[in-house]
């Protein structure tokens, strides 16, 4: 009992010191709290893959009322800003001068072919902007299908039917929703891996560990005292992101809130472990920063499925992705936010994350010794 009491008293002293330093060192606060918010604003508003008001040339070579009606989808939609022309060369000219980004062409025999059940429209897209082109194509297809369906229904007299194309789990295909779980992961990684690696390395560099080691302090207390404050900061950052995601982007949370937070805490333990391992190996702030960037930040962004779909990667890259704890955490978060509690995935990924947590925390304790060699 006495031993535990002493342990907690020293831990409390060290943790208090750590909080005190953190609050005075503005960079920790900036990285832990301000950066997540900046990220969520920038990525949320600036990095959205959705396109709106795409300048579109609508070529009406067929001027029949049917063709006009079919082309009507562009007029009232927030996705398009239509320019109506009567010949393809005119439209191509607009495309070349970058005045429009795509061309929708209704050929002269559109109505005729339509009645034969073979109505076709031509879509010309600017491949320079692939993302816009792809989204534009999807919108046009959806709009034309919906027009065709409503027309068919009216003709057969079976009442109004509207075909709504649906992208699963992200109803409006809002890419922001797709990003927010990634930002959460980014925030957790930055505030834990970076800050822990930096504050530990700083003590090595300034020689403060040397004085601290030669005291009754145990290594367990030093490590825990480093972990507690940055765990707290990361959780604050994450809750800020969750709130911002909910308020700004209407992020759905279909899975259980308890699971979302629980899994994040587990991931946080892994990230803190990585930070501790890095600082124990480098013992130098500059080096720690470089290594942290290389092993945590870049893979988080590039390889975890945050930006790029893993299924379209070459097998080598997929292999690396599968070695990263971030990949499993991100898959979990996406599923929990956008689809709900899917238990097989939750159980599998939680077990994998637990394994990583044990590995890194174990390694951190193994590598951090009260020695200066």
């Amino acid at each position: 009992m006495k031993r535990m009491q002493v342990f907690f008293r020293r831990l409390a002293a060290l943790t208090r010191k750590e909080f005190c330093q953190m609050l005075r060192e503005k960079s920790s606060f900036l990285m832990g709290v301000v950066l997540p918010l900046v990220l969520i604003f920038i990525i949320g508003y600036g990095m959205s893959l959705d396109v709106e008001h795409v300048p579109t040339a609508v070529v009406l070579e067929d001027t029949s009322p049917t063709a006009r009606s079919a082309a009507g989808f562009a007029a009232g939609s927030r996705y398009f800003s239509p320019v109506y022309v009567h010949s393809l060369p005119e439209a191509e000219q607009l495309m070349r001068t970058h005045k429009v980004k795509m061309i929708v062409r209704f050929p002269a025999d559109f109505t005729e072919q339509l009645y034969r059940g073979n109505g076709q429209i031509q879509l010309l897209l600017n491949g320079e902007e692939a993302t816009t082109a792809m989204s534009g194509q999807a919108y046009v297809e959806a709009a034309v299908m919906s027009w065709a369906a409503s027309r068919e229904a009216a003709a057969s007299g079976r009442g109004q039917v509207t075909a709504v194309p649906r992208v699963w789990f992200n109803d409006t295909n809002t890419s922001t929703w797709f990003f927010v779980p990634g930002i959460l992961m980014l925030v957790l990684t930055i505030s834990s891996v970076f800050l822990t690696a930096m504050v530990m390395a700083r003590e090595w560099e300034r020689g403060t560990f040397e004085a601290l080691f030669v005291s009754p302090v145990r290594i367990m207390e030093i490590i825990l005292a480093k972990v507690i404050p940055y765990f707290t900061v990361a959780m604050v950052g994450m809750l800020l992101c969750l709130t911002a995601g909910r308020l700004l982007y209407d992020l759905p949370m279909r899975g259980s809130m308890v699971l979302i937070i629980g899994e994040s805490m587990l991931f946080l333990v892994i990230a803190l472990g990585i930070g501790l391992v890095i600082s124990a190996l480098t013992k130098n702030q500059y080096l720690a920063c470089q290594v942290a960037l290389l092993v945590s930040f870049l893979p988080t962004v590039m390889l975890s499925g945050f930006l790029f779909d893993l299924h379209s990667q070459p097998w080598g890259v997929q292999l690396v992705s599968r070695l990263l704890p971030m990949t499993y955490y991100l898959a979990l978060m996406k599923s929990l936010f956008l689809s709900g509690n899917y238990w097989p995935l939750i159980v599998k990924n939680t077990l994998i994350l637990l394994g990583y947590a044990l590995l890194f925390i174990g390694l951190a304790f193994y590598l951090t010794r009260k020695k200066v060699e």
Partner: protein, 593 residues
């Protein structure tokens, strides 16, 4: 040696520590050393930089593991009972180990908490320590904003919070001003007397070791001697003399020549005279006879014993470079010269501010051609800032600066062709060889290709670098590195040479050689401006100025300054303390009225 009855707090037998860095040959940091440190006393570990002092401290604290031998601290084997040892000893590492973003009070609280002190006990202890250190008025101040001397005292206070069984201090006074050094030692002596504290302290300063009851001399990983200061001093008994230079000859010229005399082990300028050690008790220095100078016996100092021990250990001195045979010695050369020397550097009302902090305040001085001019002061006094402005590395906030007749505030590039600069951290390209470094610097200063080759060969001979010319700079020993950076700075034959703290981090023997080279350069007409925090090195300068907190405190020849202060025999540390105390007294009186 301590008498058998005394309790020992440190006991080392055959202690060895070897470092094996990747790719490099292994280094024996400590080579089978044995020592005993008694309880309740002050014991010093003296040695030049790189002797192995910090390694020994770290082995004692359990921060490193030994490779061979035994080491018992407070009666316990350190390796087996590391935590038990660490529970009862306190250690102040070289950088003081303070948390710079915490206040004085918070730093103290942390250590009190870690040692589990009760609230009442710590209040008493804090009040006592803060009063002892003179820090009571600053409890709330952030440690990072304290002066070097205050940080050092706070570091000491933190180690003393728990009343340790053994206190270890690793070079507590490195880079701290003489006044703070004196205060720290008086505090240590009080603590030992009052609390029966056992202290083991490492230092590079001999005068500090003289204050301890037991001294161990460490050099290149081996203990050269151990004993009371008196016992050690006896090594130099009957071999120390002092001699005054002939009229009109600077002390350093005589010192430089004496150092080269076959009958002399060591010579240093002290108080306007040259203090030297004879190789043998009944020996003599041929130089004195040639110039009909008479030396009188002088009391031996601990430092003399130290120099004898070091010299005996390295046996390198006579192979040291810079000692070529010359037709004429410097004393005769100097006496023959006439004295109409032009002014090389003129500084008027120089000010440099960083924000609202004044680093250098209204400073004026002149330096004449061929003079050795010293800028002295503790860390943070404004030396480096003044220096950088003189070299054109930092623009002045206001004032006038002329170097070699060129206004430095207008034509920096033109002025730079006349100056050579040796930075504090030698700016050499580590991966390039000696030759390649010199070729690069020669090219950078615009020496024509045709002349460059000859010049490189010449300067390599001058600085005895020829046999090392193909070696990469990073693998050179410290003394060679220093000579290479001097050679690089001198390759374009500048009129003025600037040296920033050239002697910190090199051992005393290399320092002697360094000053010999400086004396020789100055005799050849090169103007030398040098900064140092070793106060005793002021004796080598023709003129010097002392700065503190950005203020110019005093300017003049060492001898003149002594006369002005009426301290004819005083060494530079005493002079510094007297001047700073007077200046602070004045400041206090001014703010009082």
């Amino acid at each position: 040696m301590p008498e058998a009855k005394t309790e020992l707090v440190i006991e080392a037998q055959g202690l060895t520590k070897i470092f094996t860095p990747k790719k490099l040959p292994q280094v024996t940091a400590l080579d089978s050393i044995s020592l005993q440190v008694p309880a309740g006393r002050l014991t010093a570990l003296v040695g030049p930089d790189g002797a192995g002092k910090t390694t020994l401290m770290r082995l004692i604290t359990g921060l490193m593991d030994r490779d061979a031998g035994s080491l018992r601290v407070v009666g316990l084997d350190v390796e087996e009972h590391t935590q038990a040892v660490q529970d009862v000893l306190s250690y102040m590492p070289q950088k003081f180990g303070l948390y710079e973003d915490l206040s004085i009070q918070e730093n103290l609280n942390l250590y009190a908490d870690l040692h589990g002190m009760s609230e009442e006990a710590r209040q008493v202890r804090f009040a006592y320590l803060l009063d002892l250190m003179g820090l009571s008025a600053f409890r709330g101040r952030i440690a990072g904003k304290l002066s070097g001397g205050m940080k050092q005292k706070l570091g000491l206070a933190c180690t003393l919070v728990s009343a340790p069984k053994l206190l270890l201090l690793d070079e507590p006074t490195a880079g701290v001003d003489p006044l703070s050094r004196r205060e720290l030692w008086s505090i240590l002596r009080q603590l030992v007397a009052r609390e029966q504290l056992s202290v083991f302290v490492s230092t590079a300063y001999m005068d500090e070791a003289a204050l301890c009851s037991l001294v161990y001399v460490l050099n290149q990983g081996r203990i050269l001697a151990g004993g009371t200061p008196g016992e050690l001093q006896d090594i130099a008994r009957g071999r120390c003399y002092r001699v005054a230079p002939p009229e009109g000859i600077p002390t350093r010229i005589l010192q430089c020549e004496l150092l080269e005399d076959a009958g002399v082990t060591d010579a240093v300028p002290v108080g306007g005279k040259v203090h030297f050690i004879l190789r043998e008790t009944q020996g003599k220095a041929g130089l004195l006879e040639r110039h009909r100078l008479t030396a009188e016996p002088a009391p031996e100092r601990l430092e003399d014993a130290f120099m004898i021990l070091l010299e005996r250990d390295s046996r390198k001195k006579r192979q040291q470079p810079g000692l070529d045979a010359r037709e004429q010695d410097l004393i005769s050369a100097f006496a023959a010269e006439k004295k109409a020397v032009p002014v090389d550097i003129e500084v008027r009302d120089l000010v440099r501010k960083f924000g609202d902090f004044t680093a250098v305040s209204h400073t004026s001085f002149q330096v004449r051609q061929g003079e050795v001019f010293g800028l002295l002061g503790p860390n943070g006094a404004g030396k480096t800032t003044t220096f950088r402005m003189l070299c054109g590395l930092l623009p002045a906030t206001s004032g006038e600066l002329r170097v070699a007749g060129v206004n430095l505030r207008r034509a920096v590039t033109k002025a730079r062709a006349n100056i050579g600069y040796v930075a504090q951290k030698f700016s050499l390209y580590e991966k390039l060889t000696v030759y390649e470094n010199l070729r690069f610097f020669g090219g950078a200063y615009g020496i024509p290709v045709g002349e460059l080759e000859n010049r490189i060969q010449e300067i390599m001979r001058e600085f005895h670098l020829t046999e090392r010319q193909a070696q990469a700079a990073e693998s050179l020993p410290g003394g060679y590195k220093q000579r290479l950076s001097m050679a690089a700075a001198l390759i374009h034959k500048p009129k003025i040479l600037f040296l920033d703290e050239p002697t910190s981090g090199i051992d005393p023997l290399a320092r002697r050689t360094f000053w010999q080279q400086i004396t020789r350069l100055a005799a050849g007409g090169t103007t030398i401006i040098i900064t140092t925090h070793f106060m005793d090195e002021a004796e080598y300068c023709d003129r010097m100025m002392i700065q503190d907190h950005g203020e110019l405190l005093i300017l003049g020849q060492p001898g003149d300054i002594r006369r002005r202060l009426q301290m004819p025999e005083a060494d530079m540390n005493e002079i510094f303390i007297a001047i700073v105390e007077k200046a602070r007294q004045q400041a206090k009186e001014e703010s009082g009225t």
